[in-house]
């Protein structure tokens, strides 16, 4: 078995040190965000400022990254977020991860702070920190053009340089968007990381692995979701269903009746704007949209971008969404937080609190605002601090749509209450993916779980959160899990008897899910249809992996991220949603969300074995083998 090889680079001292992950940590955390959380928890002191040299950036891959397994180009970046003050993790499908493995490493730990702009170059295992003054100020596309196309690249744009709190890092055209990772790189004066080499990823049982990958790809290709809906309409294809179910936010979550939803749907994007579909390297799902923009083929917007730069600011022009998405990628800022911040600014002026010259339904001034935010200049400069900071400065706490400081993705949780619980409890704040993405069973997939009812949601959320942590840590894209919904449920309109029954089964699955979570050792087997990742990881690495150990790795990862946040002072009081979501109703007959969240949270803590304070119980930490640091033992 080959253990993951990491290199720690100190930008202050310009030194580096190679270290190897222990067998136990490899088995327990797999890699990716799980292992990154473990490193951050062990190596960082409580209360470290996100912009201080002592903040660490961990960039790492999972065991499947670059192996040829489907949708496995994913790599992860974790650090402490300047936007939330909590742990940040962001996942990206660019080529950097596999190229980093080619260069001989499975992960980088970056600490310190350079006095002047630099970039890190990793060639065939050798690390050099080089001057980047000539790159400083360049957008993400131009920066990448300065290097050989064959190199794996991870760069920031002006947004990261100017410490926009939601700046992202870009690899090719794929983006590690959320939580302000780009700003932390910027604070370290780190413009880019470049990696290249031809080291092969070692695969323990090559022949079996190849055969398994073949089977896995076939199953993804033959599935109605990953083989047809996703390649045809991408994530934008979610929009119609989301809108119909009153989950598409409009005008900063004031309502969910955006009448022009058709004009910004995935169908419209596919039929009128898309030139072809594409995908991250190694992915047979290919949900990426390619669109024409001024004689150039560029990346089209994802669902979340369409919602937040579309309906949530009252904009029905797909063209403008495509353009702003591109502009934000060039500048290196997260389109989700950007859209939400613009919407908040618009509501501030609607309410006469502060006028930025931005209004709902008016595309004018937005492009200029994106420029000002990225460069932190002009009247819109302060929008670079995100929704929470603005609400602290000007008020408007009631309609500041974030959790723990991270702006929501474009799913309104009031008709997808499980996702609401996810937003409230996600370790990186208001994130749909770390939150467990219950919208998938409540709205998107044809299993008909009631989005208004709290029944069963706590256990489902915890289970999905754990599962997605494991899939991410393993190096696979979360969309590979879509094929878990049996193909026959996609037949017809998706509201038939079988769909209804499946929905009911899931709703009443809490005792079973709870049992699996509390007794992972009993689930000592593999299940292709549930998680093909498990067998792939075992064949690739040689570590023993079962349904139980795989899910427990996810639980461990979620729990250690939670422990990081608790050390930073987060408590159960932070597991909350903004007042607008809690108290205002989407439709008259609804009951308020605050009641529902209370019920679900209580159950969620119980399922997760957390104390009322929101702290994971000693019993749980013991089972997961998470060792507390001395200062935390009460």
């Amino acid at each position: 078995m080959k253990l993951p090889r990491y290199i720690e680079i100190d930008l202050t001292r310009k030194t580096s040190k190679i270290f190897v992950i222990s067998t136990r940590d490899f088995h327990d955390y797999l890699g990716g965000k799980g292992l990154a959380a473990k490193i951050l928890y062990d190596e960082m002191a409580a209360g470290t400022d996100a912009y201080s040299p002592d903040n660490l950036i961990v960039i790492n891959v999972g065991p499947l990254t670059g192996t040829g397994a489907p949708s496995s180009s994913r790599f992860n970046i974790s650090t402490k977020s300047p936007l939330t003050g909590a742990i940040a993790s962001s996942n990206c499908g660019g080529t950097f991860g596999m190229k980093l493995r080619g260069a001989g490493y499975d992960g980088l730990v970056i600490r310190g702070q350079s006095a002047s702009p630099v970039y890190i170059e990793i060639m065939d295992g050798i690390v050099n920190v080089r001057d980047a003054s000539h790159l400083w100020g360049m957008n993400t596309e131009d920066t990448q053009k300065q290097f050989n196309k064959r190199y794996g690249q991870l760069v920031i744009g002006p947004g990261g340089e100017n410490l926009v709190r939601y700046a992202c890092a870009v690899s090719g055209e794929r983006v590690a968007g959320r939580c302000g990772i780009g700003a932390v790189m910027g604070s370290k004066n780190l413009k880019a990381v470049i990696a290249y080499g031809t080291e092969e990823v070692e695969i323990e049982k090559k022949k079996e692995f190849d055969a398994f990958v073949s089977r896995w790809v076939t199953s993804l290709k033959n599935h109605p979701s990953t083989g047809e809906a996703m390649p045809k309409y991408g994530t934008a294809g979610f929009l119609k269903k989301v809108y119909k179910n009153h989950v598409l936010p409009a005008d900063n979550y004031q309502h969910t009746n955006f009448a022009e939803a058709d004009r910004i749907s995935g169908e419209t994007l596919a039929e009128e704007y898309m030139t072809r579909n594409s995908g991250c390297v190694s992915c047979p799902i290919r949900c990426e949209r390619r669109v024409k923009h001024q004689d150039k083929e560029i990346k089209g917007p994802e669902f979340e971008t369409i919602g937040l730069l579309g309906s949530n600011i009252g904009n029905d022009s797909m063209n403008s969404i495509i353009e702003w998405n591109y502009q934000a990628d060039l500048m290196g800022i997260d389109t989700i937080s950007l859209g939400s911040t613009l919407a908040f600014a618009m509501e501030l002026s609607q309410k006469g609190i502060k006028d930025y010259g931005l209004q709902f339904g008016n595309p004018e001034g937005i492009s200029e605002a994106i420029r000002q935010i990225s460069l932190r200049e002009g009247p819109c400069a302060e929008l670079a601090d995100g929704v929470r900071a603005l609400s602290e400065k000007y008020g408007g706490h009631d309609f500041a749509i974030h959790s723990k400081g991270l702006e929501f993705a474009s799913y309104d949780p009031r008709h997808s209450v499980g996702l609401g619980l996810g937003y409230a409890t996600s370790n990186r704040g208001g994130c749909h993916l770390n939150g467990g993405f219950l919208t998938f069973v409540e709205i998107l997939s044809p299993v008909s779980v009631n989005g208004l009812d709290t029944k069963g949601k706590a256990a489902l959320t915890a289970f999905f959160q754990n599962a997605m942590e494991s899939v991410s840590s393993g190096g696979s894209c979360l969309f590979t899990t879509f094929s878990v919904i049996p193909a026959f449920l996609f037949k017809g309109k998706g509201d038939g008897f079988v769909n209804h029954i499946t929905g009911r089964l899931l709703t009443y699955s809490s005792p079973l899910l709870g049992f699996i979570m509390h007794h992972p050792g009993l689930f000592n087997f593999k299940m292709f249809y549930l998680f093909p990742h498990i067998e792939a990881i075992e064949l690739a690495t040689g570590i023993k992996c079962t349904v139980g150990s795989f899910l427990e790795a996810g639980e461990r990862s979620f729990t250690i991220e939670r422990m990081f946040n608790i050390r930073e002072g987060f408590t159960s009081a932070d597991d909350c949603l903004p007042p607008r979501i809690m108290n205002e109703m989407v439709e008259e007959q609804d009951t308020t969300m605050s009641e529902k969240i209370k019920i679900m949270l209580h159950e969620f803590y119980r399922v997760r074995t957390w104390e009322d304070s929101g702290r994971p119980a000693k019993k749980l930490l013991g089972r997961l083998g998470i060792e507390l640091h001395d200062d935390e033992n009460e």
Partner: protein, 139 residues
């Protein structure tokens, strides 16, 4: 193990230009060298060198071979999943994913777009996770 360049090299730089993994460096008109760590032993350098200045990993002197005899990849397009690994791996940008045939066509595949750029290194063959690519010389 790696290919090596010996002092018969006249520094014409052709091997460096065609090395698909950027393993060969040097100054024109001086002796070039192969980065042993990076060399994937594809043999392209040996096939282009007119001076037989390149040794294979076993120490044999390589012979120049006319380009029209170099092997080219043949892709089983029916089973290709368009995952793009070969396209990304190809250092010479000879491969691409096919264009959709109509609006909404999702049945695309990898193909040899530019045979003139292909150096026959077979890196695509090694990387294809479904083993759908084989190298064939044109007879």
């Amino acid at each position: 193990m790696s290919y090596r360049i010996v002092d018969k090299c006249i520094g014409c730089s052709l091997c460096a230009k065609l090395c698909p993994v950027l393993a060969i460096t040097g100054t024109p008109k001086e002796i070039y060298s192969v980065n042993e760590k990076r060399c994937i032993e594809c043999g392209v350098c040996g096939r282009v060198c007119a001076k037989s200045a390149i040794l294979d990993p076993l120490g044999n002197i390589t012979q120049q071979i006319p380009r029209k005899l170099w092997p080219l990849p043949h892709i089983n397009t029916n089973q290709c999943s368009s995952c793009g690994i070969c396209v990304e791996a190809c250092g010479m940008e000879a491969l691409d994913i096919s264009d959709p045939q109509y609006v909404g066509d999702i049945h695309t595949f990898a193909y040899l777009k530019d045979p003139k750029k292909c150096v026959g290194c077979a890196i695509c063959t090694r990387k294809c996770p479904l083993n759908l690519i084989r190298m064939e010389a044109i007879s």
